[in-house]
């Protein structure tokens, strides 16, 4: 039984699409574990590593030459804020990975600065994930992961790795940065999978 907080009334969410335990924000909070890496577009590179160890590289020019999409999505941070109708531009992982040997059931996403996060490969495909390089009709600011970040809006936002620079495909799952520090290995906001065991 929940403890009733004497004299607490709270605000009812005005939107029905708010996952449990979340509240709505209108600004865009920044959360990072360390300093913001400074990555110039001309130095940016994205590397896909297959289970067999083969690699494929994309430069900034390669990435931005691919067909772009403009998803408008709701995002949900494990620290409990949610932000509705955020507008992005970037390349779908379906486009990026078209023709690549997608062996392995899991993916480790890697970033400049050393951050990592793991998720099932299938959560990156079928129109669910993008490499985003524009936010709100402008270049993605560095503190929000610019020049490019992963965008996987159906999972808690720590999966949407900032300053992304690669994906390593894996046969079996391994914990990424926060997953190794006690956060949930999958992170579905609608099932409130915040911490290990949730």
């Amino acid at each position: 039984m929940a403890v009733i907080s004497r004299g607490f009334h709270g605000r009812r969410p005005t939107e029905e699409k708010l996952p449990p335990g979340q509240y709505v924000v209108h600004d865009f909070p920044v959360l990072s574990a360390g300093p913001t890496p400074v990555v110039a577009k001309e130095d940016w590179q994205f590397t896909l590593t297959t289970v067999a160890g083969d690699t494929r590289h994309w430069s900034w020019q390669d990435l931005t030459a691919l067909p772009a999409e403009r998803p408008t999505v709701d995002i949900h941070c494990v620290t409990k804020w949610s932000k509705f109708r955020t507008e992005w531009e970037g390349v779908s992982l379906d486009t990026l990975l078209d023709g690549v040997d997608l062996d392995g059931d899991y993916a480790m996403v890697q970033s400049y600065g050393g951050y990592t996060t793991d998720l099932p490969l299938e959560d990156l495909l079928d129109g669910q994930a993008w490499i985003a390089y524009r936010y709100d009709h402008d270049d993605l600011p560095a503190e929000h992961g610019g020049p490019a970040r992963l965008l996987v809006p159906h999972l808690y936002f720590w999966k949407s790795a900032k300053w992304v620079n690669g994906i390593r495909l894996m046969d079996s799952d391994e914990p990424g940065f926060w997953e190794g520090l006690g956060y949930h290995e999958y992170g579905d906001p609608w099932r409130e999978q915040r911490y290990q065991g949730d």
Partner: protein
């Protein structure tokens, strides 16, 4: 599926538990420390936070995260909460909650922004406003375990009246090996060493540690402060891997 052992203190399921407010203490005109007794508390590391859940009579509930201010030990924990003007939860915690009330919490959470007392490296703490809260847990932990690790705190705050833990971090609260520098951004007391203003490279050079001492750096505060502080540290040669950051946005209410 085999998984690597999980470090930190988050192994096993984190359950909601009921805590009772034992005491409340005003820190400033807009911030209050809640002293809570949590009978099922299993300890924490300095720098971690908790999730707090409030439930209204009709069953509506909401959650927020708050940093632990106290050192680990026993079943008493302290949170210091800043009232956010248009917040949903912080005005309740700061203005309404009183001794004897109960609330639900879950934690400790976060295994990265933590100080390990076994690490002999010098420590640089940089706080902007309410960002001092998890750093206070580190300072109190250092004192409680009798650590002689060298600590320096740079505490950026608008005015002397807005300092948290004024007595503990003031002249009477001296601890050997802990240097405290207040950096006032709006108004400073008489005879300041430095005119009021935002954090500068010179402040970090004067009151921090040289990069060659390889300190652990913990930076906590509003995003603008943290971005600036971390940028200065990196520019002054500190290893980004030894700079840990936590940002308190205005959405923390």
């Amino acid at each position: 599926m085999a998984r690597a052992a999980v470090s930190g203190r988050l192994t096993g399921r984190l359950r909601w538990q009921t805590a009772t407010v034992e005491d409340v203490r005003d820190e400033t005109g807009t911030a209050r420390t809640l002293v809570l007794r949590a009978p099922d508390w299993r300890g924490h590391a300095a720098g971690q936070h908790v999730d707090v859940r409030l439930t209204a009579e009709d069953g509506y509930s909401t959650q927020r995260s708050y940093s632990l201010a106290s050192a680990p030990g026993g079943d008493r924990i302290e949170l210091t909460v800043q009232r956010i003007g248009d917040g949903e939860v912080s005005p309740y915690l700061v203005d309404v909650l009183e001794a004897g009330d109960q609330l639900e919490l879950r934690g400790p959470v976060g295994g990265w922004f933590v100080w390990d007392p076994a690490d002999p490296s010098p420590v640089l703490l940089m706080a902007g406003g309410s960002g001092v809260v998890p750093l206070m847990s580190m300072i109190r932990t250092r004192r409680n375990v009798g650590s002689r690790v060298l600590f320096r705190l740079l505490y950026s705050v608008r005015t002397p009246e807005e300092r948290y833990y004024a007595r503990e971090l003031g002249p009477g609260g001296a601890q050997g090996g802990l240097d405290i520098t207040h950096l006032y951004t709006r108004s400073a007391p008489e005879g300041p060493r430095r005119p009021p203003g935002r954090l500068t490279e010179d402040d970090v050079a004067a009151y921090g540690w040289p990069a060659e001492f390889a300190p652990m750096c913990f930076v906590c505060g509003p995003t603008g402060f943290v971005e600036r502080a971390a940028e200065i540290l990196v520019a002054q040669g500190h290893d980004p891997q030894r700079i840990r950051t936590e940002r308190f946005g205005p959405v923390g209410g």
